[in-house]
Amino acid sequence: MAQTMNSIRNKVAIVGVGESDIGKVPTMSGLGLNAQAARRALDDSGLKLSDIDGVLTAYSFTEPYFMLGSVICEYLGIKPRYTASMVVGGASPAVMLKHAAEAIAAGHCKTVLICAGENRATGQSRDQAVAALMAVGHPYFEKPYGPSIPAFYAMIARRHMELFGTTEEQMAAVSVTTRAHALLHPNAHMKKPLTIQDVMQSKPIADPLKILDCCLLSDAGGAFIVTSADIAKDLPCKPVYLAGIGEYHTHEHLMCAPSLTEFGAHESGKIAYKMAGFGPADIDVAELYDCFSIVPIIELEELGFCKQGEGGSFYQDGYARIGGRLPVNTHGGMLSHAHAGAAGGLFGIVEAVRQLRGGLGARQVEGAETALVHNEGGVLSSHCTLILTKDKQ
């Protein structure tokens, strides 16, 4: 185990990041959004197209090809020696980074493009989108009862409220904090400020969650390029190094979750911290998965940034704001920047890289040297935590 972990620690760097146009982009297909993000990531890296010899992607609800990895390569005109489409829900981008790092460290390929994205806003009707996402519910033992995805997370939120006294206002503070950050991001889907009252008075979806506790449906693609630390050091861009990464999976369906208050993020975080040789106190900025406002509250607790039950007050007290104790989701997260399938969590990685490179103006976390990103998939089912550093440790 320890040997495996050391085999990728500091061995790879992210050298290019890119976002497609975000929001409602009816002029582009889902594959087009991936391609636009990939092209921007390549330009950002200073690498040539011919340098890419590996491609990983996730899945698409709006363009549900069987072999999406091969489809993306075909669309991009890349003939790689390493490709796959990996479906670990929202955890896919972080898990893909881990697989890319392992493949590069083992010498199977040198430079991997990782991309994901869909046209979720305009490529399907809202009803289609909501129904497609029901694929997460168990077809025989959950679906007959009509749960929505928000309903699953609402049950987790309700249990958290019951056991720890977390309030709807504290969850609203997550949406408000995240929106304030999105307003500092030039490419964020949401452009208007938000108040606690706006969230509290927004349309109820599945109690206690309201529409403004729920992530967006965007047209969006994201991409980043991973290469060996050796190649990275000679590139014109500023590389960001992978210091630690860990994953952990406890269930898929909520009815089979071992607990509604303790999840796999604790374990995935522990593995990542151990590999990096860091603890929560060493992290300068965190990009957490925020498909619903309750989720980053739980992740703050699981990843050791506060005690269990204190995630809500962490937000309410302003600790998660840029300038606070630990700025969280500085790009605006999936609640306000963009959410389009696996691209949602991927943008957390993009933002962490940008924060560590610096120069983001009002959005910049002063002196950020270490960033943590957490992706989760399913219903807090699959977890992957990664730690990135500005300098090679």
């Binding site: 996402l133 025989y140 959950e142 009862y145 749960p147 309903a151 249990r159 109820p204 599945a206 109690d207």
Partner: protein
Amino acid sequence: MNSELPIPVANPDSQVYWDSANQERLMIRHCKACKELHFMPRYLCPACWSTELEWIQASGLGVVHSFTVVRRAPMKEFDHLVPYVVALIELKEGPRMMTNILGPDALETRIGDQVKVCFEARGPDAKVPQFVRYLAQKGAN
């Protein structure tokens, strides 16, 4: 009760579960090797991988572990039921399962409420286990 709602689909893992539900019995799996009980039926025991499994009839009693009131249905078949309660029940025997809470007081559901199983007809030949509150209890706030 409502033929529009999804009708359960049995497969070789779950045939006994759904046949029993049709006869108004709630069945769960018991591992003879490690004694573990589990809800979702499988070819083997998820705790010890023994295939020495048997079906036992659950008491049908349980406690609301958590719940939500759905105000926007995920599928149009459920639109006319909004608002309705989706809950996770912890059965007296231990395993958890998903259900609706039915009955006129369903919207008053709280965590910790005691519930018991009932069976809801779905189409002419199928029934799904459902739960009702049977002793109005205030949740542990």
